[in-house]
Amino acid sequence: MQCQICHKNEATIHLTEIADGQRSEMHICEQCAIEQGIAVKSQIPVNELLSSLLSVQPTDEELFGIAERELVCPNCGFTLEQFRKEAVLGCPYDYKIFEKSLLPLIEKAHNGKTVHCGKVPSKVPTDTKKRIELLNMRQQLEAAVQAEDYELAAKLRDKIKNSGHSSEDTD
């Protein structure tokens, strides 16, 4: 599209003005815009854009709190700083040591879920197994209700009742 003023250059600035209910459009080149005194803000340099974006990102202190940020796992020597760099943990104990910091990430990665539901190794103590089984049944109950399968839901409800666990046991 040609500039409506000089009729030479390509129109790169497109203005739409609405005044007194009347809509008017103007397509002009950058040079004519400057001559007409229309302020044209040049593009923000990429580094400026990046630094302004990064400045609003949460800091490590905000994310993890000062106390956890300085924690070092006594078993593997791992820190949260290393987790941020490598995205893998140092040892199974890290889940306990850095629990507060990891929990929001775990929640985000698993659609809000933070408690295991599913297979349990056969060597795990019976009461732990029962607790996880109960959790599985509660989730099945929720799914059955959602799917309007009330017959299955009633069966599951009775099973949960007969398992002898109270709702506080699941956490």
């Binding site: 140092g90 539901c117 599913g118 056969s122 989730q139």
Partner: protein, 374 residues
């Protein structure tokens, strides 16, 4: 086992058999596990990694996984052999080019593999042709039980199986299906598939080639959530909701092509056939892209009774054989074989030495010409 024993053949899960195999090429279930009493691999010394490797290798080799179970020391394998194992989907790229002592246990016909010292101490997987996720899940569960009789896994009552990366935490399960979706791509509806996958928190990757590109319209769809959902529920969601929906999309797109744009369909198939039959230099990307159209054409004939002129020509491919069975099955077998054997590492391993890209392209074209011009 020598890799050349298997490099000239198609693996079991890619042979075109199994339910819905025209669209669902294969099913895979993988479990991530770590040993109790050891750090995760990023903090293990070489000596500790070796100790884990020996321990797990001994456990795995003592399992009843059928005859001819092999172990390959990945860190000692040549670069070409490592590329081959990746192409064959026996190990991940991360495992092939990682650091330190590591290996893979492979069962006969490649239905089961176990990567030792990948991101986690142990990653076991079962692969089957077509849509057979329940079968995969059942089999991997038995193998996992058998392993657990001999070692202790790192497990927390709250978080389940503890993994190096919190994204695998809980069940440690990754359920995947490999899909062939050429009609969705051809009709400009592949975005529909991506949107459905995103809405269901699923990850999409390419099946062949590097990174996330989907060469030849082959996609791999996997679950991302592993915590707070049971293995059975994840598998059932795939089998009862996700797969039927995607298969329906692709079938509708195939029918749409057949009834509304038969010229476009025939043009794609005929051009693919002409290029493959005539080319003297062909890259692996181009070969995958063209073979994909042939695979769709034969399957449309077989499953939907499609018989356009180009599709009829395609089905002659398998008619020349003296074997018993359907011509379509033989045609698909020829195409599947070409998919697998024309990948770069397969080509070189079967040729007996490393080749530069131009020589690979020439050899690939020659193999394809000779298979299709019979």
């Amino acid at each position: 086992m020598k890799l050349t024993d298997i490099s000239n053949d198609v693996n079991e899960w890619f042979d075109g058999s199994g339910p819905l195999s025209d669209i669902v090429i294969s099913s895979r279930v993988r479990l991530a596990r770590n040993l109790v009493g050891y750090k995760f691999l990023s903090r293990c010394s070489t000596a500790e990694k070796s100790e884990i490797l020996v321990k797990l290798k001994n456990v795995l080799m003592s399992l009843e996984l059928g005859d001819k179970v092999s172990y390959i020391s990945v860190d000692k394998a040549s670069s070409l052999n490592r590329h081959f194992l990746v192409e064959r989907h026996l190990i991940s790229r991360h495992h092939a080019f990682g650091k330190g002592p590591r290996g893979v246990v492979i069962a006969h016909r490649e239905f089961f593999t176990a990567m030792i010292n990948e991101e986690d101490h142990l990653r076991i997987q079962v692969l089957k042709g077509g849509c057979q996720l329940s079968g995969c899940a059942e089999q991997i569960n038995h193998i996992d039980d058998a392993i657990e009789q001999k070692i202790d896994y790192a497990f927390s009552p709250r978080y389940g199986y503890l993994t190096a990366c919190p994204t695998n935490l809980g069940t440690g399960i990754r359920v995947s299906v490999m899909l062939h979706l050429p009609a969705l791509k051809m009709t400009g509806q592949i975005e529909k598939f991506f949107r459905a996958a995103k809405a269901m928190s699923l990850a999409v990757r390419g099946l062949f080639g590097e990174g996330t590109e989907a060469a030849g319209d082959f996609y791999q769809l996997s679950n991302q959530v592993t915590l707070g959902v049971s293995e059975a529920d994840i598998v059932s969601q795939f089998e009862n909701a996700i797969i039927p929906e995607i298969v329906e999309y692709e079938n509708a797109a195939r029918k749409q092509l057949l009834s509304n744009q038969p010229e476009l369909l025939d043009d794609k198939i005929s051009r693919a056939m002409a290029l493959l039959k005539g080319a003297h230099l062909i890259s692996s990307q181009e070969a995958l892209f063209l073979l994909s159209h042939l695979r769709m054409g034969i399957n449309m004939h077989d499953r939907m009774g499609a018989s356009t002129p180009a599709i009829e020509q395609l089905c002659i491919l398998g008619a020349a054989g003296n074997d018993t069975g359907k011509a379509e099955d033989r045609s698909i077998a020829i195409i599947n074989r070409l998919f697998m054997l024309t990948q770069p590492a397969h080509l070189q391993l079967n040729y007996g030495k490393a080749l530069d890209p131009t020589h690979r392209d020439a050899l690939r074209a020659k193999i394809i010409r000779s298979a299709l011009n019979k």
